[in-house]
């Protein structure tokens, strides 16, 4: 999908969101509605102008872009002249890293910060960055120890123990694993 088309979709989406913002406020008391409407209508005006420009650009430039060279997805990278790869390769890398970002979020949510930092770091380095097993393990352990020492022990931050630990009723997944090991090997 070309940037012009994406910009048109984004502009349309913004108009729709602002429409919802104004629609939502219609039933509120006058005082509650005053500020959202004052701001909302002004921003909607700007959004409509932006939509008009996006539509114009789309209609004017879209055909040439379709046949011409594709723009690299990261404009900053293009700006600094850092990306030399083919657009397909770049697009593939973007999809991989976005999936990992989402994976880190879900991983931390389910496993908690301490165990999550260990497992996710190792998994990313070993399976995606293709680092050696020793390097991946060292960085993962350092990451775990850093989280444990700085955020848990020194700063005593209430880090989430993870959804899984909450569901099984353990204080953390680590303690759950240790309890199982103690049960399996009583000595």
């Amino acid at each position: 999908m070309s940037p012009k088309r994406i910009e048109l979709i984004v502009s349309l989406f913004i108009v729709l969101v602002l429409g919802w913002v104004l629609w939502e406020a219609r039933a509120w008391q006058f005082h509650s509605r005053l500020f959202p409407w004052s701001v909302g209508f002004c921003v909607l005006g700007l959004a409509l102008i932006q939509l008009a420009f996006s539509l114009r650009d789309y209609l004017r430039f879209e055909p040439t872009l379709e046949v011409g060279p594709q723009r690299t997805p990261l404009s900053e990278a293009v700006l600094y002249g850092q990306v030399t790869s083919e657009p397909e390769v770049v697009r593939g890398r973007i999809i991989v890293i976005c999936a990992w970002i989402l994976g880190f979020y879900l991983g931390l949510w389910f496993l908690g910060f301490k165990l999550g930092s260990l497992i996710l770091t190792f998994a990313f380095l070993r399976f995606t960055a293709k680092e050696r097993r020793s390097v991946s393990a060292t960085v993962a352990i350092m990451s775990y120890l850093f989280f444990l020492a700085v955020f848990d022990l020194i700063l005593a931050m209430p880090l989430t123990s993870g959804l899984i630990a909450e569901l099984i009723g353990a204080s953390s997944l680590e303690s759950f694993v240790i309890d199982i090991l103690r049960w399996a090997f009583p000595g």
């Binding site: 940037p3 994406i6 910009e7 984004v10 913004i14 602002l18 913002v21 939502e24 406020a25 509120w28 005082h31 509650s32 500020f35 959202p36 701001v39 002004c42 921003v43 700007l46 959004a47 102008i49 932006q50 420009f53 997805p73 990261l74 404009s75 900053e76 990278a77 600094y80 850092q82 990306v83 770049v90 890398r93 973007i94 991989v96 890293i97 990992w100 970002i101 989402l102 880190f104 931390l108 949510w109 910060f113 999550g116 930092s117 770091t121 990313f124 380095l125 960055a129 680092e131 390097v135 960085v139 993962a140 989280f147 700085v150 955020f151 700063l155 005593a156 931050m157 880090l159 989430t160």
Partner: protein
Amino acid sequence: MIEALVSSLLNVFTYPTFPFLLIGILIGFVIGILPGIGGLVTLALMLPFTFDMKPVAAFAFLLGMLSVTATTGDLTSILFGIPGESIAAATIVDGHPMAKKGEAGRAMAAALMSSLLGAIAGAIVLAASIPVVAPLVLTFKSPEFFALALVGITFVASLSGKSKLKGMLSAGLGFVLAMVGLDPQSGMPRYTMGIPQLWDGVGLVPVTVGLFAIPEVVDLWVKGTSIAERGSESLRGVWQGVKDTFIYWGVTLRCSMIGTFIGIIPGLGAGVSQWVAYAHAVQSSADKSRFGMGDVRGVLGPGAANNSSLGGALIPTIAFGVPGSPTMAILLGAFLIQGLVPGPDMLTKHLDLTFAFVWLIVISNLITVALCFLFLNQLAKITCVRGALLIPGILLLVLLGGYAESNSILDMGITLLFGFIGLLMVYLDWPRPPLILGLVLGKLVERNFFISYQLHGSGFLFRPMVIVILLIGVAALFLPVLQAFLSKRLGLKEEVFVSKED
């Protein structure tokens, strides 16, 4: 007066004040570098430890910690593109591109020196202005604060880069985002989509961290190299950064004053001053094309402003017991713990302590900057580490940064959401700073608008001070247009209208 100034300096170097200052600096150093954990939270966590301390030692501990977080927060912003503190977000815009170009040492040195000068400027103003500023602050009521927040919006044009429309729309969306949460008038939930965790609104930290840091992570992976593409320069770059501070002394000084002044005004603070200072750095430069791509002036401005704000913010807190920010409100708690009442007593009976605040800000910044310079080359070398090795650590810190503000998984989700929005904005060339400015100013504008309207009706817009402030805003808005028009019309170079240092 001089006697109090000298005795308070000597007092700072006594036992146990000085060791507590060093401990505070150390904590502030670490807190500043780590993203998400702000000075505010740490101040609240450390407050109970001051119960058994004497006043000077307690404030040495707290102010030592607080005054260095902005300085070290700038370093994280430059190195990784993640704001170490929310008040160091503006440093990313030019600081991180400098790191990418292999100029991390130069950018950090510039940030450190401007931070030091900013802190000193703020401290000097604090020392000199307490008797002078009293009538000024007392003149300012909600209508004036409303007008000041509106003036802040006029800086959007300078933060918008090439596309002013996209910048204004981005700021407008920031305003809309600021409306999420409980309505300050009726207490009714607005745009919360039935999620109770959104009743407190959308946090500034998750939005800022997501918007700026996640696109950097993606960029780092796509490049497949280290942060610094061209290899990090050596000590020469650090020295250049120091020199830049003095070459562009005007920008540094003016931004320090902007930071101090905004710090004085309750409700604004370093979160706003960094962006206003950045906008000023852009506005006052002849060649604006390099901003956003690694212009050192874009580092000097916010660096100076976010540090000088502390000195400014202390003025109303000490002199009138009016805390201008949540941080100052917690610090006010320290006053009460120590049995001190802010107000005239602080200028007479406890003048020693008031001057000690000035010295504490200066000394803690001097120590921090000296410490940082010792390790600057090592820090700069981080930018040469292979990107793939840094990505998991950065991602963990980014998500923790989002989580830490209210210990909420939802906030972590907001970080993620704004990360993808940031990515889209970078892709489509939409400016991100105006959105943050809109989010910061939106709440201020709304709150002061309603208080003003309820107290004065629509007549609040015609108060003399409001008119003066709004005229300044209009001038700030149209000055760049006027400059461009006159330079075209008269055939003059744009340099005529800007300071000589450019």
